[in-house]
């Protein structure tokens, strides 16, 4: 476990049973308009069987972080720096061929949009057995049987019928369940789910979240759940990493972060969660917009929107500082601020 020894900047404290260790990840998009620093120094850890929530607004780098871990960042994006260690081996150094053996087998991915997550021109069974056959030595017939079992395990009714249907014949919720079934096809130890409920309506959202919780308990699979919804984090996750403009604001267990946020952005995020118990007149919003990632603000990237910003926040980029109990914060003033949680009991 070399990362415990610390190799310089933003060190995240070690967790028991580390599974995935991402450190100082930088992924940039080289566009005509300029270099978009979508992920700029993000570190996170996931241990075995744990569910990590990755929270942030649109454009905070959640999806690009997930794609970087799998090394499937679409062109013109490139991972320019950082380490990604999975089960102790560096994924950055693997050849593309070996990386393909990890994708879908050890680390699986559930994309954001269930309407386009399945290829419209192939039957469900074909798409599932394709992945099964890629990772297991198995005949086409047995792969189809396994595909049916997978559909059953994600609680899809009549899996024998679904298997021979095309995606356009299915509802959004069913498609998302199939996407989850496909993620399970290689018996993964880590599933990265990218906003798995965002495109679904509320009742289906709840069902999908229940399914994810159930799978996590039954299969003891670790999960990275990407979301912008603090409510989902509270419901499903063990730990949370909050992202803003391609950087980490803070990370810690869900209890720690919800009870005692250390970063002003986390506090603002928690304030903007609709809360019936508080019966506020208006929903609070965070003033301002997500910064331009081609020329991000100097110093702390949150400074233009931060109510506590001072000169040092404009002048100097803060360190991601470990503050004990497995927590870390990316703020100059966290000690003096003593933020109150809007949702603490």
């Amino acid at each position: 476990m070399p990362w415990i020894l610390g190799s310089g900047s933003s060190e995240v404290s070690a967790l028991p049973d580390p599974l995935l260790h991402v450190q100082n990840l930088r992924t940039y998009f080289f566009t005509y308009a300029g270099i978009v620093k979508a992920v700029d120094d993000i570190s996170l850890d996931v241990s075995k069987g744990e569910t990590l929530g990755v929270v942030g607004e649109s454009g905070s780098g959640k999806t690009v972080t997930a794609q970087s871990i799998l090394r499937i960042v679409p062109s013109p994006g490139k991972i320019v720096d950082g380490t990604i260690e999975f089960e102790g081996k560096s994924l950055m150094k693997l050849r593309e061929k070996d990386m393909q053996r990890i994708r879908g087998k050890d680390i699986a991915y559930v994309p954001q949009d269930p309407t386009s997550t399945l290829d419209p021109v192939y039957r469900v069974g074909e798409q599932l057995s394709e992945v099964i056959m890629r990772h297991h030595v198995i005949s086409r017939k047995d792969a189809l049987a396994k595909a049916t079992d997978l559909l059953r395990s994600v609680e899809i009714p009549d899996p024998e019928i679904r298997i021979s249907q095309y995606p356009h014949e299915l509802s959004g919720g069913t498609k998302q369940r199939i996407a989850i079934a496909r993620a399970l096809a290689g018996d993964p130890v880590l599933i990265i789910a990218d906003e798995p409920t965002t495109a679904l309506d509320v009742t289906i959202q709840a069902q999908i979240l229940d399914l994810l919780k159930e799978l996590k308990n039954r299969l003891n699979v670790a999960m990275i759940l990407i979301t912008h919804d603090m409510g989902i984090v509270a419901d499903v996750c063990d730990r949370v990493t909050v992202l803003y403009a391609g950087q980490v604001c803070e990370s810690g267990t869900v209890e720690q972060v919800f009870e005692k946020p250390k970063h002003p952005y986390t506090q603002a995020l928690l304030t903007s969660v609709p809360n019936l118990a508080l019966r506020k007149e208006k929903l609070s919003v965070i003033p301002g917009n997500v910064p331009n990632l081609i020329e991000p603000p100097s110093g702390c990237r949150f400074n233009p929107r931060c109510p506590y910003a001072q000169q040092i926040c404009i002048d100097k980029v803060p360190e991601l500082e470990p503050i004990g109990e497995g927590r870390s914060v990316h703020c100059h003033r966290w000690k003096e601020l003593d933020l109150k949680s809007p949702v603490a009991s």
């Binding site: 679409p74 393909q100 419209p120 992945v131 990772h135 290689g186």
Partner: protein, 312 residues
């Protein structure tokens, strides 16, 4: 079933327009000072051109429906004339189309995968240049360079006229030698627009989540690109090929004239200048039929490619 009225509409249109083009009897006899009006009338009678135009149309149509294409004014069965030349046309066009698809699809996919790279910009800009060069210019330039100056290839024709001059004394090799230049020019002419089409269609598909999901599931890049990517990008490409195939004979006159290629296109040009109505009509009927069949095949292919288009 809209094909049937379309077909008859086109025959009617062609029939009336060509009658406006001029009087073939005048054309044939204009340079003969010894011919008089009575003899011209006799000639018209023998060509059935003296009858009212709707009778001419109906008798031609009934002949057509009994698969009788009639006789050329200069003698000889139209059906035989066309069938002798159809093969040359199809050979050139099919080879050009097939080769250009085989080359263009991987290039277009590569260009889409490496979007904005130097490679992509090079491919896109040279395809734009390629699309802008008319085929007759490319043809004439190729003949000038490789035929006239370098003498690598014959500058025209289907095969050497004299068997003693066959390449290596082999008829097939000789024909292939003659085919090379026109087929290459044809391939290049079709290649460029197909590359651009494949690229833009693939870019649209590559943005979809199922491509990302395919990669994230550990599928090979080839499987992601061809099995999932290309199959979904195929609809616009099939549309283009279908349209192209329909217009195949319509585009042939230019190339075949440039390369002196004895195909249907050359036949069409030669007999149009002679106002040989039966031949012109027959060629147009064949073009129409090919277009309609190509449309039908395109529609059937759509349904094969994309299950969402299939009828319940």
């Amino acid at each position: 079933m809209f094909l049937v009225p379309v077909f008859f509409g086109i025959t009617l249109l062609v029939f009336s327009i060509e009658r406006l083009a001029g009087d073939p009897v005048q054309l044939y006899t204009a340079l003969n000072p010894h011919i008089n009006e009575a003899q011209r009338q006799l000639l018209r009678q023998s060509l059935h051109l003296d009858q009212p135009i709707h009778i001419q149309y109906l008798s031609w149509l009934s002949d057509l429906l009994s698969l009788n294409l009639g006789f050329s004014y200069s003698g000889g069965s139209v059906a035989v004339l066309i069938s002798q030349r159809l093969w040359a046309t199809l050979e050139l066009q099919l080879i050009g189309l097939t080769l250009s698809l085989i080359i263009a699809i991987p290039i277009g996919i590569l260009s889409a995968r490496k979007r904005y790279s130097v490679l992509d910009v090079t491919i896109t800009s040279s395809s734009l240049v390629g699309t802008s060069i008319p085929i007759f210019f490319l043809g004439v330039a190729a003949i000038l360079i490789f035929g006239y100056n370098l003498h690598w290839f014959p500058s025209g024709g289907f095969q050497s006229s004299d068997p003693s001059r066959y390449l290596y004394h082999n008829l097939l090799l000789d024909q292939a030698w003659h085919l090379f230049l026109p087929a290459t020019v044809y391939t290049f002419a079709i290649l460029a627009p197909v590359v651009l089409l494949v690229r833009s269609s693939m870019l649209e598909v590559l943005r979809q989540d199922y491509i990302l999901a395919g990669r994230a599931s550990g599928l090979s890049e080839r499987s992601v690109m061809y099995k999932h990517g290309l199959r979904n990008a195929l609809i616009p490409i099939v549309t283009y090929v279908g349209l192209y195939f329909g217009g195949l004979l319509a585009g042939a006159p230019v190339t075949e004239t440039v390369f002196n290629w004895p195909g249907v296109g050359k036949l069409f040009v030669d007999y149009t200048t002679q106002l040989d109505f039966p031949v012109i009509q027959a060629v147009v009927v064949i073009i129409t039929l090919m277009t309609l069949v190509a449309n039908l095949v395109t529609d059937v292919t759509y349904a094969y490619i994309d299950p969402r288009i299939r009828l319940e």
